[in-house]
């Protein structure tokens, strides 16, 4: 009887199966634990969000009353103070900033969406660089240009300048994305009909990109409205009512910052109330922008 050698394949197969079965339980357990850990990370990430919102809502809501929204600030210790001047001030600052940033941003987005050359590349790089600049440094620039020289003292327009710069790259990028998303057949149809590029842009492309534009713009505005650092030495805040662009002006983020670090409880309460107001505004803008965009898209496709 001949003795055959062991088939190495079969021997290996047996050995591999032995190891696989011996380790299977451990491997499966490790996999389950690891996934659990990842899910725990998700929960850990969301806990601060929940905690923050809960506190802002609870402490902020207790500050909300008619006086809070309609009165001007009162000195510490005297009740009945409000943030009316800050609400108006924020509107002034952010309104001016948006008025400048939106047209420039959309125009830049239009340019970048329609060209891919080296110039466009450089511009895109510049926009990227700009968006990475810390907001406090932008504030220094605004200070140098409009406070130290320009107007000569703290002013709302200096703040608008700083916030506008911060809004600009965001609007540009959102516009470029929205415009690139417009099917090229639309523009081509316009060209085929002999229309000028500018007309096509106005009549065809921008309207088609409008939902995306609105979302991008409103998000940029929301972000700009929440910025504090650019306001610290430009608008610097105020206790008085003002709509003048050339004077210091109150703003909601400044109210939060300046009141939040005070020792007086009624001032701290105002800070919480303003914080809630700011969060609500931003939420409304973010959600609202998406709803408006969705609505527009639906209306369009009908």
């Amino acid at each position: 009887m001949t003795i055959m050698a062991v088939d190495p394949v079969l021997a290996r197969r047996a050995e591999i199966q032995r190891i696989a079965q011996a380790t299977d339980h451990r491997r499966e357990l490790l996999s389950r634990l690891a996934l659990l850990a990842c899910r725990a990370c998700l929960v850990i990430t969301l806990i601060p969000l929940g905690a923050l919102l809960v506190y802002v809502v609870i402490r902020g809501a207790s500050a909300w009353n008619w006086a809070f929204f309609s009165h001007l600030p009162t000195p510490a210790g005297i009740p009945g103070g409000g943030i009316w001047n800050a609400i108006v001030g924020s509107l002034v600052i952010d309104g001016m900033a948006a008025a400048a940033a939106i047209p420039f941003g959309i125009a830049a987005g239009l340019f970048l969406a329609e060209s891919d050359g080296r110039i466009a590349g450089t511009l895109r790089l510049a926009a990227d660089v700009l968006s990475g600049v810390p907001s406090i440094v932008v504030a220094i620039f605004a200070y140098a240009l409009l406070v130290a020289h320009g107007i000569g003292h703290f002013s709302a327009v200096a703040a608008s300048f700083a916030i506008g710069i911060l809004m600009l790259p965001v609007i540009t990028r959102a516009s470029e994305t929205a415009i690139r998303g417009v099917p090229s057949v639309l523009a081509e149809a316009g060209l085929a009909l002999g229309a000028r590029k500018a007309t096509i842009a106005r009549r065809v492309i921008l309207p088609a990109a409008l939902p995306g534009l609105i979302t991008g713009v409103l998000l940029a505005v929301a972000r700009g409205a929440g910025e504090t650092a650019p306001l610290l030495f430009t608008a610097v805040g105020s206790q008085y009512f003002s709509v003048s662009p050339t004077k210091p002006i109150a703003a909601i983020p400044l109210v939060i910052y300046q009141n939040g670090i005070q020792a007086y409880p009624d001032l701290v309460k105002i800070a919480w109330g303003s914080a809630l107001f700011l969060v609500v505004m931003i939420l409304v803008l973010s959600v609202g922008s998406r709803l408006v965009a969705a609505r527009l898209r639906r209306v369009r496709s009908e």
Partner: protein
């Protein structure tokens, strides 16, 4: 206005080009103005500006080392927290939760980014700092024996709190981008791993994460950039003393918080110039990091589009 928008093509392109060029003009003006303002300080103090720890407006001696270190410290602490937890969170969002929950939870994480910095600061100062002071710092000191990084007085505000708040603030960046790159790993690679008998974790660890590592690095770098430039929240919780701290519980300053705190009170001319000089330092660091991040994230996209394996 209507006529303006019907201009000939050449003028149209030209006008748009001018507008886009404004970006460059803006940047140039920006850098120039900063350079002009900062020059006196750099010229006068030279290299010692970077190496000296003395920041003394009274005796007119300025050195930014404390704040450089403070910025690095807060950023490192923030990343040490945000990187692992953010990656785990991204893995969970991409692979660990049922399909129907993905959008909702993903949006919830992104909501973290919508909260303004000053609100984080307020909450951190008034709500979290007391917890840190009364619960966390004593506990940490107890566990570690209260030496070195866990020693010193426990005030709540300080380096640790700043790092934690910063971590929370950069988490959405880390998670959102990581989640996108993880989800973009080609299905075929994942299937190939499963078909060999891999468990879910083995697939994530050996195939998906390595495949996505350039993008994850980009996300981390971007998060770093955000952390570096963060001003208000940090200012409100870091304690604001102009010197080093050897403990996590201690107070210090970052470059950004220094400027926020002292700019309006800088009466002495060198003081202002020194502050702007610190701003220039911050700018340089932030720009370098942000550019690196965008290059990394972009290169991932391009490599995938060209079908090249991601290294």
């Amino acid at each position: 206005m209507r006529r303006l928008l019907s201009v000939p093509d050449g003028a149209y392109r030209g006008a748009l080009g001018v507008v886009a060029a404004l970006f460059v003009i803006l940047l140039v003006a920006f850098v120039t103005s900063l350079a002009i303002q900062a020059r006196p300080a750099f010229a006068h103090f030279g290299f010692s500006f970077l190496t000296s720890t003395k920041w003394d407006p009274v005796h007119v001696h300025y050195g930014a080392l404390v704040f450089l270190v403070g910025t690095m410290e807060t950023t490192v602490i923030a990343l040490m927290i945000a990187f692992p937890i953010g990656l785990g969170c991204a893995l969970a969002l991409a692979f660990g939760i049922p399909q129907r929950l993905r959008v909702a939870l993903g949006t919830a994480v992104e909501l973290l980014a919508a909260v303004p910095s000053v609100v984080y600061g307020l909450w951190g100062l008034l709500v979290v700092a007391p917890w840190v002071r009364t619960i966390i710092e004593p506990a940490l000191a107890h566990i570690t024996g209260g030496h070195g990084p866990f020693g010193g007085s426990q005030l709540g505000v300080g380096l640790l709190l700043a790092g934690v708040i910063l971590a929370i603030m950069v988490m959405p960046t880390m998670v959102a981008i990581s989640r996108d790159v993880l989800a973009a790993v080609p299905e075929v690679e994942i299937e190939g791993a499963f078909a060999l008998g891999a468990t879910r974790w083995q697939v994530m660890r050996r195939v998906v994460v390595p495949s996505a590592r350039a993008g994850i690095l980009g996300a981390t770098t971007l998060a770093t950039g955000r952390a570096l430039g963060e001003t208000i929240a940090v200012t409100m919780v870091i304690g604001n003393t102009d010197r080093f701290t050897h403990s996590l519980f201690g107070q210090t300053q970052t470059m950004a918080s220094l400027i926020a705190n002292e700019f309006t009170e800088a009466t002495e001319p060198f003081h202002l110039s020194a502050l702007v000089a610190v701003g220039v330092l911050l700018l340089v660091v932030a720009i370098v990091v942000n550019l690196a991040a965008r290059l990394l994230v972009r290169s991932v996209g391009r490599q995938r589009a060209l079908g090249i394996g991601v290294l």
